[in-house]
């Protein structure tokens, strides 16, 4: 605790880098995954699932340092980390997004068609809102794991909260490592709570029962 207080501003700086490297992949990866879940035809779902499952299994450090060979980026620095985190976010969110869209009842879709909605209206006003709970559940998983994996970026020179692990181990300060663990968990929990609240705000009909009584 003393270490945490004494190094408060240092940790805050690392946390800022940590967030700035995690938030873009969470948003970008989720959007790409949602689009993929919508446009990939059913017959390609099984191969997509196998490929994404295999990519998900790749250890993050290996993915960070293999990207330069494929993309020509620099070995050290945030670029590879952001790209790799986006790829992981896609692999995880794709499955959640597919489930979320499949949970929309067919009868509701047929009804909205019968009411004269076109495909775009059906998607924006019926399908997307009804998929929100599933999408939020998937996003919560993506947010927690992205924040957690981002710390490995410290090995390739990104000064985020993962730096506390490496530095704390080398200097034999357990408090430093534990501060890093706590800071990452707090950020993950805060994001999780934020997404939960967002989900509630976006689906007001789900807590409407109280108002009706």
């Amino acid at each position: 605790m003393e270490w945490f207080i004494a190094n408060w501003s240092f940790i805050a700086g690392l946390a800022w880098t940590h967030l700035s490297i995690s938030i873009p992949p969470i948003i970008l990866g989720s959007v790409i995954a949602i689009v993929m879940a919508r446009v990939i035809p059913t017959r390609f779902v099984t191969p997509t699932r196998t490929i994404l499952g295999a990519i998900y299994a790749i250890p993050s450090l290996a993915l960070f340092v293999v990207l330069p060979a494929v993309l020509g980026t620099k070995f050290i620095g945030p670029t590879n980390v952001i790209i790799a985190l986006t790829i992981y976010a896609i692999t995880s969110m794709y499955f959640s997004a597919r489930d979320a869209f499949r949970q929309v009842p067919v009868a509701t879709m047929t009804t909205s068609r019968a009411l004269g909605m076109n495909s775009r209206q059906m998607f924006v006003h019926v399908e997307l809102p009804l998929a929100v709970p599933g999408l939020i559940a998937g996003l919560r998983v993506v947010a927690a794991s992205t924040i957690s994996i981002a710390s490995i970026g410290a090995v390739v020179g990104v000064r985020n909260l993962g730096y506390l692990f490496i530095d704390g181990f080398q200097r034999k300060i357990p408090e430093e490592i534990i501060s890093g663990l706590v800071a990452i968990s707090v950020i993950a929990l805060a994001l999780d709570a934020g997404l939960w609240l967002l989900g509630r705000a976006m689906t007001p009909w789900r807590n409407a029962k109280v108002a009706r009584a």
Partner: protein
């Protein structure tokens, strides 16, 4: 971009395959650390998961453990445990840390395998006069096997990825080529090592996925391989 020539030269140099830090030795060390720690964890996790699924006691614990384990970086856990358990018994501390990382997915796999068995199946087993032990041994364990294997699959992914970081705490494993290569700016070695790691993990993932599907097919139950 990918320097195929340098990569080929690195792979065809026999010196990179043999010796203490040769690929063969590092691969062996990587696999050994992975298997020992998963085996150690499964001794506790599988019976515990089966017990929680069977009795229904401690379900909240399993769910909480699942979300907690996702939010805590395995890297920090590994470093903290090695530092706290002592750097003198480095290998033992790393194995224990890896076993801790393997626990949540193994418990969750065994638990959800038992929890998803329809009550009617368990009731008919009891109605036939099976004892609690027979119910676990002959009904719940076989029916939960695909899910248990699924737990091993996720534990494998988690542990094999964390072993890549073992060189940072003074051990070997295939991550050595990456860590040393980055320090020495030997990028052919970095790329070669990461390709070997990727091949290893994808092979393991596919094998365990195949095993899980086969176990499910044999029981005629649909596999939910969707969520990795």
């Amino acid at each position: 971009m990918l320097d195929v020539g340098a990569l080929g030269a690195w792979f065809s140099d026999a010196a990179n395959w043999t010796g203490r830090y040769g690929l063969v030795n590092l691969l062996g060390e990587h696999l050994w650390l992975t298997f020992v720690s998963i085996a150690l964890a499964s001794l506790i996790a599988v019976p515990l998961g089966l017990f929680i699924g069977h009795t229904g006691r401690g379900e909240v614990f399993v769910i909480g453990l699942g979300s907690l384990s996702r939010a805590i970086p395995t890297m920090g856990l590994l470093f903290a445990l090695v530092l706290l358990l002592g750097v003198e018994f480095r290998e033992l501390s790393v194995v224990l840390a890896l076993a801790v990382i393997a626990l949540p997915p193994l418990i969750a796999g065994a638990y959800s395998g038992v929890a998803s068995i329809p009550p009617s199946i368990r009731d008919s087993a009891t109605a036939q006069g099976m004892t609690a032990w027979q119910l676990v041994r002959h009904v719940e364990l076989p029916l939960a096997s695909p899910s248990i294997i699924g737990g091993f699959r996720i534990a494998f992914i988690q542990v094999v990825s964390t072993v890549v970081l073992a060189p940072l705490v003074g051990l070997g494993g295939l991550g050595f080529g990456i860590i040393q290569g980055l320090a020495l700016r030997n990028f052919a070695q970095v790329t070669a090592s990461s390709l070997v790691i990727i091949a290893l993990t994808i092979t393991g993932e596919l094998l365990l996925g195949y095993w899980q599907r086969r176990a499910a097919d044999r029981l005629g139950i649909p596999t939910n391989l969707e969520k990795p």
